[in-house]
C-alpha cells in the first residue's frame, strides 16, 4: 500500500487529529485558565504517564502497574533536591534537580526492569504492583524524603511560573513534552531496537532462538518506559506544586491503568484521548447537580460502557467509525466491522 496515498480512511484518521492538535496549540485563547490547567494540562501529563504504560503494553507486551511509582520517584527526587517545605533540606537549581529526578527514575526503572524482565503476564503484573506499593510506603515511611504529609511548595524553574495564576507556560511545556514523547515512541517503533521489542512481544522464544537477549531487551524497554513516566512525574509536581505518597497511591495507579484502557491500551494516541476523557469527565460529573456525590458511579458506568462496547477503548471506537465511513466513501462494503485496531504496528493481543 502506498504510504502517501490519501485514502478516505487516512483522511478521516488524520483530519480530526490535525484539528485537535490545532485546538490544543491555541487552547490558551479558547479556554479559561481553570480549564486549561485543571483539565487540559492535567490530561496532558496524565497522558504522558499513560503513554509510558501503553508503550510497554503495545510494543513490548508488558502491562505494568509500576508507572505511577516510577513517576513518583522522579517527582520525589526532584522535589527533595529543590527548595521546598518538607523532604530534604537540599536546595539545588530546579533544572539540575529535574535532570537528576529523571535519571533517578530511569535508574530505578532499569533496576526494577532487571528484576521483572524474566516474568510474563500476570506475574509481571504482580511484580510491578509490588513496586507500586513498595514505592508508596517507602516515601510514606522515610520522613527524610517525604512522610505522608508530602513535600509541599516545591520550587519550580522560573519558566514554569505559578501554575495557579499563570497556567499557560506549564500547559505548553506539557504539550511539547507530550508531542516529543509521541514522536519519540513512534520513531522508536521503526528502529531495529523497536522492531526487536515488538518481536519480543510477539514471540519471546523465537527471538531468543534468533540470538536476541530477551531479558535485556525487556529491561531496557522498562527503563525507557520509566523515562517517559519521569516526564509525567516532573510535570505533575510542577502542576500540583507538591507531591505526597497520596499522589502515587494505588488509586492513582489504577487511574492511569483506567486511562490507558479507556483510551485504547494498544494505540499510543489513546493515552492522551483517555486522559482527556478521564479529566473532563471527572471535572464535569462533579459539577452536575443531578449527580451530586454520586459522580464516581457515573464515571464508572461511562467507562464500563466504553470498555464493553469497544475492547480497543475510545481509539477502537474511532477506528471502527473511520473504517466504516472510509469504506462507505470508497464505495466498498463494510468488510471489517469489528472494533479491532489497525494491523500495521499495533495489533490486538491474542
Amino acid at each position: 500500500m502506498n504510504r502517501s496515498a490519501l485514502t478516505p480512511e487516512r483522511a478521516l484518521w488524520w483530519g480530526p487529529a490535525l484539528v485537535l492538535t490545532l485546538i490544543l496549540v491555541i487552547a490558551p485563547l479558547l479556554f479559561s485558565d481553570f480549564y486549561l490547567s485543571q483539565v487540559l494540562t492535567k490530561a496532558l501529563w496524565l497522558g504522558i504517564a499513560a503513554a509510558s504504560l501503553i508503550f510497554l503494553a503495545a510494543y513490548v507486551g508488558m502491562v505494568s502497574l509500576g508507572q505511577v511509582a516510577l513517576y513518583g520517584i522522579a517527582g520525589f527526587t526532584m522535589a527533595n533536591l529543590v527548595e521546598a517545605d518538607g523532604g530534604s533540606p537540599i536546595a539545588w537549581n530546579p533544572w539540575l534537580a529535574t535532570l537528576v529526578g529523571i535519571l533517578a527514575a530511569v535508574g530505578a526503572g532499569l533496576f526494577f526492569g532487571a528484576i521483572a524482565s524474566r516474568s510474563y503476564g500476570i506475574y509481571f503484573l504482580m511484580i510491578t504492583l509490588a513496586i507500586a506499593v513498595l514505592t508508596y510506603y517507602f516515601f510514606g515511611q522515610v520522613t527524610q524524603f517525604s512522610g505522608f504529609g508530602g513535600v509541599n511548595s516545591v520550587e519550580r524553574p522560573a519558566i514554569v511560573s505559578n501554575p495557579v495564576t499563570d497556567p499557560v507556560n506549564l500547559f505548553y511545556i506539557a504539550l511539547l513534552t507530550s508531542a516529543a514523547v509521541y514522536a519519540f515512541v513512534r520513531y522508536l517503533a521503526r528502529t531495529p531496537f523497536g522492531l526487536a521489542l515488538q518481536g519480543v512481544r510477539d514471540d519471546p522464544s523465537r527471538m531468543r532462538a534468533l540470538g536476541y537477549n530477551v531479558p535485556l531487551l525487556r529491561m531496557l524497554a522498562f527503563g525507557l518506559g520509566a523515562l517517559i513516566a519521569a516526564f509525567a512525574g516532573i510535570i505533575s509536581v510542577w502542576w500540583n506544586t507538591r507531591i505526597s505518597p497520596g499522589s502515587i497511591d494505588l488509586t492513582r495507579t489504577i487511574d492511569v491503568l483506567v486511562i490507558a484502557v479507556i483510551g485504547g491500551l494498544f494505540r499510543l494516541e489513546g493515552a492522551w484521548v483517555g486522559a482527556f476523557a478521564f479529566a473532563a469527565l471527572d471535572n464535569w460529573t462533579r459539577g452536575l447537580d443531578v449527580v451530586g456525590q454520586r459522580f464516581n458511579t457515573v464515571i464508572g458506568v461511562i467507562f464500563l460502557v466504553i470498555v464493553l462496547l469497544s475492547p480497543g477503548g475510545l481509539m477502537g471506537i474511532w477506528q471502527s467509525i473511520t473504517d466504516f465511513l472510509g469504506r462507505r466513501l470508497a464505495g466498498k462494503p463494510p468488510a471489517r466491522p469489528s472494533a479491532g485496531a489497525r494491523a500495521s504496528d499495533s495489533p490486538q493481543p491474542s
Partner: protein, 473 residues
Amino acid sequence: MSVSSEGGRARFWALLAVLVLVFAATVAACGGDDEGDGEEAAPTDTGAESDGEATGEAIKIGVFANNEGAFAPFEGQTWGGAMLPLINRGATPVSGNSVDGVEGATIAGHPIEIVYGGSDSTPDKAVEEARRLVEQEQVDILVGPLSGSEGIAVAEYSKEQPGVTFVNGISGAQDTTLKVQSPNFFRFHNDGTQWTAGLGNYAYNELGWRNVVTIGDDYDFPYSQIAGFVAEFCSIGGNVTERLWPPLGEEDYSSYITQIPEDVDGFFMGVGGTGTVAFVKQYGQLRGNLADKIMGGVFMTDPVILEELGDQVVGVVTAGMTSGDSQEPAYLEYTSQIESAYPDLAGTGSSVFFYGYYTAMEAIAQALEQVEGDLSDDHAAFREALAGLELEAPLGPIRLDENRQAIMDNFLQQIVADETGDGVPDVKTLETIPEVDQTFAGAFSPDTPSPDRENPACEEGTPPPWTDQGGGR
C-alpha cells in the same frame, strides 16, 4: 454475510452514540467555566427566588469533605453540620441524606447556593477540589477540608485566591493556621493539639503514669494531637518512651500493637477515622484490659465509633472540643435540631466532624448577617465580622486569635457504661478546660518546629495553667 453487515451497522450506531455522549460531556465541561459568573449564577437565582423572601444577590458557598478514603464514612456528619445552620434559617433538606444539601436557603435576604465537593484525604485531591470549586464553580466562600494534611495545602492555596473566603471544615493540623497564616483562611474550631488539653495532666496526676508510648496515624493531624499530649505530659515530668506511626488507612495494627512494650504505664492513641475501631478491637484481642492502659484521642467519643466499640472502651479517658453529656439548653436545642432535620444523624451532634462543619457554617451565617450579605468590598467587612465574631456555639463560646484560629473550651471526658439505655456507652465530662488557645499556653509558636514524628521533644518545662503543677486545681 448480510447478517454480519447488519450486526456491524448496529454496532456502528452504538459506538456513535457513545462518542456523542463523550463529546457532549466534553462540551458541557468546556462551556461551564468559560462564561462569566453572572450567567453561571442565573439558574440558581430563579430556583431560590421561589422562596419569596430572598431578594439580594445570590451567595455561592462551596462545601467539601471526604467522599473517598479513610474518612468517607463521616461524610454524612460533616454535611449535616454544614447544612444545619441553613436549615435553622429556613432552608429545607432535599432528602434525609444530608449530602444532598438543602433548598431555599437564605441568609440576610440573600439566596444561598450550596455547591457540592469531595476529596479523599490527600492534599493533592483537596487542592484540586478547592480549585474546581473556586475557579470553575466560582464560589464566594469555601467550607472545608476535612483532613489534617489537606488543610495545610488548602490554606496555602487560599493565599492565591484573595477574593474568596475560606473557612476550615474540620481539618485539625496545627500548621494550618499557626504557620500558614493565610489572611483569608479561618478556623472556627480547635486544632488537634488544643483537643488534648487536660490529658497529660490526667495521665500523670490521676492515673500516675510516668512512661507512655504514643501511637498515631502518620500524617499531620495525629502529629498535632500527639504534640499536645507530649507537650503537656512531659512538661510536668512524664516521659514518652516511644512514638509509633502506622500509615493512615491501615487496617491491620497487630504489628504495631506488639511493638508497644508490656511494661509501659499506658499509651496515648491518636489513631483517627476508621482506624480507631480496628485498632481497639485488635488491641483487645492481643493484649486485653484496654481501658486502664489507653488514653484516647478525639475520635474515641465519636458517636459512630462508640457504637461500634461498645463496652470495650468503657473507662477510657479522652478529650476534645465536644461533650456529648452536656445538659446546657443550647446544646439540647442543637441536638433536637439535628434530630428533626436529619433523623439518621440523631446523636451525632457531639461528633467533631458534625460540630466542626456546624461551627464553620454558623460563623459564616452570623458574619453574613452582620454585614447583611454584602461581599462587594472584596469580603473586607465580612472578614472583619468573621475575625471579630463571638460565636455562642452550643458547647460554649468561640472566638478567634490573630491567626484566625479558634480559642474555645476543651472537655476532659471519660467513657462510662451505658445509662441512657441505647446500648451505646455514655460519655461523662470530668473537667472543662476553658479557652484553650493554639499556643497551648506558650508551648507552640510560629517559630517552634512543626509537629511531626519527633517534634516536639519530650522535655520538662513550664506546665500549662490547667495542670496541677501549673496551679490549675
